[in-house]
């Protein structure tokens, strides 16, 4: 068989009138993709120093994300879509349902900042630790590995319901799912890496997870998960430097912290976007947080996780009363303060409605506003 080398041609417009009207198998060919697709032909994004990003290709109409997409199919946004494409059953069809102003940037950031729990944690440098410290670290990692995958299951539960025109939001959530797999992995590995093991799991953790998973709307789900749950976990990771008995755990918490901050950044900006464009959504989110805060408080005072954290903060069981519990109380105050401050940034002030015991926690609303 002779293969003819294609003749290089310029990109001048050509006429394609003499093409065959059927394939060798007899299927009709209208060549619409070649001579008539309604597309913004000729768009040429500028390639930046790091390559071609999703932001670079968001040019012209390809960068326009509709408020109310006309289709319910998986057709790529910007394509010339046949009117008879099937309905995929999407229920999140408004931009306010899923969008955040920073979501494309967060996707690129997530891709650029992936790491490996196998390779990037210096596991071989784990030192032999006192028995109580090793137990406490293993308990913290048991609870963390238990809760991490909720932040993968929850987006997975909703993603197939999101209109495909919100592709960048779905892509970002895919990176979150990968991040959570790595978090479940790194904490499971730490529990098992140093001769310890997986310790206690009790109902109080599962109550929070169930509340998040069973949220009735995506707005409620994302408020409970990204803002409340992951915000709380982000602060635990930020505390990692205080609780880590060795540089190995420090590294583990620091790397997880950066990922977690992206998830929280998406949730904060998603809720902000939603409320700015549809203020009625605020009440729906408030209702979810009314319940979520109560469940989170139960989780936060979980005896296994809480006392293990206090042992690590104090530097051992012998210092739990003098140092551990007081430092833990201070950290809890920080966590709840930063949650309330995050709500302010998300445009959903909880200061006058929160179910958190601000008096008991010693939180001054003025501090929240200054954060």
């Amino acid at each position: 068989m002779t293969v003819t080398e294609p003749v290089p041609t310029s990109r001048e417009h050509r006429s394609y009138d003499s093409l065959p009207s059927a394939s060798p198998l007899g299927a009709p060919l209208d060549w619409k993709w070649l001579k008539g697709a309604k597309s913004e032909w000729g768009v040429r994004p500028k390639i930046g120093p790091r390559g071609l990003t999703m932001l670079d290709i968001a040019t012209g109409s390809y960068g326009e994300v509709p408020e109310h997409p006309p289709h319910r199919s998986m057709a790529p946004r910007g394509a010339d879509v046949d009117p008879d494409t099937p309905d995929m059953g999407y229920i999140l069809n408004n931009k306010t349902d899923v969008w955040a102003e920073n979501v494309t940037e967060l996707y690129e950031e997530a891709v650029a900042r992936q790491w490996s729990a196998t390779r990037d944690i210096p596991w071989a440098e784990l030192p032999e630790l006192p028995d109580d410290i090793e137990h406490a670290m293993c308990q913290v990692c048991t609870t963390l590995t238990e809760v991490e995958m909720i932040a993968a299951d929850l987006p997975a539960k909703w993603m197939w319901r999101m209109n495909h025109d919100f592709l960048e939001a779905k892509m970002f959530l895919c990176t979150q799912i990968m991040d959570e797999a790595r978090h479940a992995e790194v904490f499971r590995k730490r529990a098992l890496a140093n001769g310890g093991g997986l310790l206690m799991s009790r109902g109080s953790s599962e109550g929070l997870l169930r509340t998040i998973l069973e949220a009735k709307t995506y707005h409620q789900a994302t408020a409970l998960m990204h803002l409340l749950g992951e915000g709380f976990i982000l602060d635990i990771f930020r505390m990692g430097e205080l609780i880590a008995p060795s540089p190995v755990e420090k590294r583990m918490f620091r790397m997880a912290m950066q990922d977690e901050a992206r998830h929280v950044a998406y949730g904060t900006m998603h809720i902000r976007y939603a409320i700015e464009h549809d203020p009625d959504i605020a009440e729906e989110i408030h209702e979810a947080l009314d319940h979520g805060e109560v469940v989170l408080t139960q989780f936060g005072t979980n005896q296994d996780f809480g006392s293990a954290l206090a042992v690590l903060l104090g530097g051992g069981v012998d210092f739990i009363e003098d140092r551990g519990f007081p430092l833990q109380a201070e950290m809890q105050r920080k966590q709840f303060t930063s949650y309330l401050a995050r709500c302010e940034r998300a445009g959903i002030s909880r200061l006058h409605r929160t179910k958190l015991p601000l008096d008991v926690l010693g939180i001054d609303p003025a501090t929240v506003l200054a954060n």
Binding site: R50, E101, E109, R113, W115, R254, M257, A261
Partner: protein
Amino acid sequence: MTSKIDITDLSLYRAMAEELNAHPETFTVLGEADMVLALVMRRDEGSDFAVRIRFEGLRCEAVDEVDASEAPLADYFLDGPLAKWQAMFDDIVANGAASGRQTINSLALLATNAGDVRLRGDDPMGVDKFSRFNQTLQEYLDGAARVAVTA
């Protein structure tokens, strides 16, 4: 014992940027970072020192002295008394990298008032970047140890 480094000298921060850009092996594993931040160092007698630092991709691209009043224009800024900053940098120089509670994350986490190094910012998307790119910033700050040795 080395003498204290002068942390109100702009050339220190420029040297740290050069150090980071010259040794990408230490931070490329962390991935690209895009952020503009400011460090604000308050003096009792006024005349505060502030430096604005811009990271782009895998490089620290710009370091400039700015007026402290311009700090809120950055994605976020870290604001504290000069003495607290001096303690942080002295720890970095002494240990080769920030140790214990002298990491920028722990300092900001444990801050309670204007007497501490606080994380501040007006842009809700910007403030998040402190945690999102935290280790890139820490690598940059830890570079002070290497710069101080060669200085």
